[in-house]
Symmetry: C2
Subunit: 170 residues, 2 copies
């Protein structure tokens, strides 16, 4: 599945702006994200990511492929739910992966048309908004829709860096 | 967890012998086992294994470490259940692993004291019996108990090779 995604720093009053566009709050989650590196491949260079996400609904393993276009942070994403994140981490470590970083955030989700908006309070980084749509083999329309949501919220500058990269830059 | 395991070719009449020792049949399963290789490590040389097992109860990812002693095929084993084996295979492939072999078998399980006996009909290989006990950091007692079960069943020769290795030798 192609995850079409744009991200930006959240300006003040963003919740009201989302509500003003008709966005509906659909839930809130706390994420503990464990990012892994590989002893045989430099994920920062290959622009890949391997993550265990632990949240109330369960634990999930996600692989993200390299970004697919220059304007957004759209990527191929594959996820499976697992019953035990500690055993999964033990398997990953045995296979040559290592815990590279931990990102903790509080995510509030909104639904707006076909888009999902995620307002993230990231520990140590501040507030961000991600606009996500799922796309097929051709995702031009989804890309346009995601960028349009940002524009309608009065946001002109998007960020292509991951929280992981932003944390590394501090 | 240390999985203490001995394996042997199953002689004729093994079911009756197991019943004669007081073994109780606890169930039967069909396993489709997908074994993976790694582009960065030769699991045959490192004596490791990475497997997705698909059975009626669900899909499971298992890592097995190198064998720990010269008499049995005891190893460190770590398993997680996953909700989607196809997505898991897609993640493994993205990370540099590839499907190396498929083993299909019908397993009948018996309980005998602290041991689990697995009578396996392996497609293309024939009938085998595995005697399994779970051990802690020291597993001498479990090893002795597993070998004793084989002896009480009149089996003198055990095999340390995996089904994967046996299939590769054909």
């Amino acid at each position: 599945m192609i995850e079409v995604e744009v991200k930006a720093r959240a300006p003040p009053g963003i919740e009201e702006k989302i509500a003003g566009l008709g966005g509906a709050r659909t839930g809130a989650e706390v994420h503990l994200d464990l990012y892994f590196g590989s002893r045989s491949r430099n994920f920062a260079e290959t622009d890949e990511a391997l993550r265990i996400r632990i949240k109330e609904a369960g634990a999930f393993l996600t692989y993200k492929g390299p970004k697919l276009d220059p304007e957004t942070k759209s990527r191929r994403e594959v996820t499976v739910q697992v019953d035990d994140p500690h055993n999964l981490e033990s398997i990953l470590e045995s296979l040559g992966f290592f815990r590279a970083a931990v990102v903790k955030k509080r995510r509030t989700k909104y639904s707006l048309g076909r888009a999902t908006l995620c307002l993230d309070e990231v520990e140590g980084l501040g507030s961000f908004l991600e606009v996500e749509l799922s796309g097929g083999e051709v995702w031009e329309e989804e890309k346009r829709a995601a960028l349009e949501v940002l524009a309608r919220l009065g946001i002109s500058e998007s960020i292509r860096k991951s929280y992981l990269e932003l944390l590394a830059e501090r």
